[in-house]
Amino acid sequence: MGAPIIEVDRVSRVYHRARRSLTRPAPVVQALREVSLTVEAGERLGIVGESGSGKSTLLRHIAGLEQPTSGTIRFDGKDISGLSGRRLGFLRDRLQLVFQDPMGSLDPRMTVAQIVAEPLHARRVRDAAARVEEVLAAVGLPAEAAGRYPHQFSGGQRQRISIARALTVSPDVLLADEPVSALDVSVRAQVLNLISTLVDARDLTLVFVSHDLSVIRHLCDRVVVMRAGQIVEDGPTEQVWRDPQHDYTRRLIAAIPAMPADTHRSEI
């Protein structure tokens, strides 16, 4: 633990929709409202929320993929909120992403080697072959996977490819946007184990977005709960789980159906 690595300061984001009525002005969507959040180096932070809560939007802002309407985002002390794609090179070296849809996030026309090497190629690093082999091994894929195409893999394996791509530049921070939501239950545990192991082994800071609080409870030390573009609760995961303060968090936890083997709820 230590110094803050990501600082989100009163960030708002407004999307404008196309105008549809003569009498009413063009509708606006407040995707983020004055969100403030600090992530410390080495932390495992979970962001939980339902659809439309702004959790994925927040993640994309942190990754420098979208620009806030107001507020600032700093990475390791450097303001990234005004920077264009070209000047975000330093961020790309240190922060990488894993996406939800294991098929949609891999270009179907590229081989696994090309996909995994893309962060290096974009840096104009020519010889990436050795690095590709190394990260494929790290995520538990055989070396011959490099020459194949995404559609030749199962959902879980594709998510491993996606994780491998995030690791090629040896980032400090890993952002994950619902990486296990599209996976079967039996495969979900494999991918969660992999993420957990890699985060430990490589001293990564993890920001993990999910709609499923029980996944975050397993993986993260701290959780923020989002609703309608705002953070409504922020605290250590176990504490939030056992003693939610905000009314919405309480309802969220109460709505989670209990697993038959889930002994925890019966303790309360």
């Binding site: 993929l65 794609g85 070209r86 790309r92 949609g104 590229m110 974009a122």
Partner: protein
């Protein structure tokens, strides 16, 4: 045949692809062969034949106005393919970059491109050709340019909608996160993923170009009289149709076969080339 066709998806798409490919190859072969060899010089008035002799062993498609119809038909394939290639090439060369700009550029530029293409859509190829012909007189160049310009909007639209589908995908987001710039994304991700879509579009546009060229030639606005052309053959055949139907049948068949070929090829390719992405767009 039906049992093969009935086996739903795969059987049918292969049939389209194979049949379309065969027909297109046939037309291309006719054009190529006719460059080096035709039974008779296509446009030469022959001696020792009647005006409208029916098909025979020495004149396979018969005689029309004392010229050999078979020679004219295979030489006419040259005109058809030339007009098609130039028109589709022009449309793709202009339309694809415009579509890309419309998909990736700022909103006002996108609006400008799309509104303009809407407007050009209101000028069908034939109308453009008629306007140009009124000024410059008839000619193959006028036909090619008119058909080409009229096909630009569809290429721009197909490129734009295909690109938008690709750009909305997570793998483009992943590429941005990996540090790729807009140009890298366009070249590395968008173009390879819409290539199939564009090939299909080119095939369909080719079929439309053949139809437009034939119509122009029939109206006397396309290919000049000294060059073999299917549309013009039909024009010349019309007044004598009741006496010599073979004058119209063979060029008519040639047009139908080549249009059918390119349409089937497009259909077959559509099913073959990455149906998933096509569905998304």
């Amino acid at each position: 045949m039906t049992s093969l066709l009935r086996r739903s998806g795969l059987g049918r798409l292969n049939a389209s692809l194979v049949l379309g490919g065969t027909l297109v190859t046939l037309v291309a072969l006719a054009a190529l062969v006719s460059i080096v060899w035709t039974p008779y010089p296509p446009m030469r008035v022959l001696s020792g034949v009647g005006n409208f002799d029916p098909p025979s062993g020495s004149h396979w498609f018969g005689i029309g106005f004392r010229r050999d119809i078979f020679s004219q038909v295979i030489a006419g394939a040259q005109t058809t393919l030339l007009v098609g290639v130039v028109a589709v090439g022009l449309a793709a060369l202009v339309g694809v970059p415009l579509g890309l700009v419309a998909a990736m550029g700022p909103r006002w530029l996108s609006e400008l491109v799309m509104r303009t293409s809407d407007l050009v859509l209101a000028f069908p190829a034939l109308l453009l050709a008629i306007m140009l012909a009124a000024i410059y007189g008839q000619g193959r160049v006028v036909a090619m340019v008119a058909i080409g310009i009229a096909s630009i909007p569809t290429f721009a639209r197909v490129t734009r909608s295909g690109s938008l589908a690709v750009l909305a995908s997570d793998f483009v987001l992943a590429a941005r996160a990996a540090g790729r710039g807009p140009l890298g994304i366009a070249v590395r991700h968008v173009l390879p993923n819409i290539a199939g879509l564009l090939i299909v579009q080119a095939s369909v546009a080719f079929a439309l170009a053949i139809l437009a060229e034939a119509a122009l030639a029939y109206l006397g606005l396309g290919t000049p009289p000294d060059t073999p052309s299917w549309g013009r053959m039909l024009l010349e055949a019309t007044p004598v149709l009741h006496r010599a139907p073979h004058l119209a049948i063979f060029p008519g068949l040639a047009i139908a076969i080549s249009v059918l070929g390119f349409n089937l090829l497009g259909d077959g390719l559509r099913d073959r080339l990455d149906p998933k992405l096509l569905e998304r767009s």
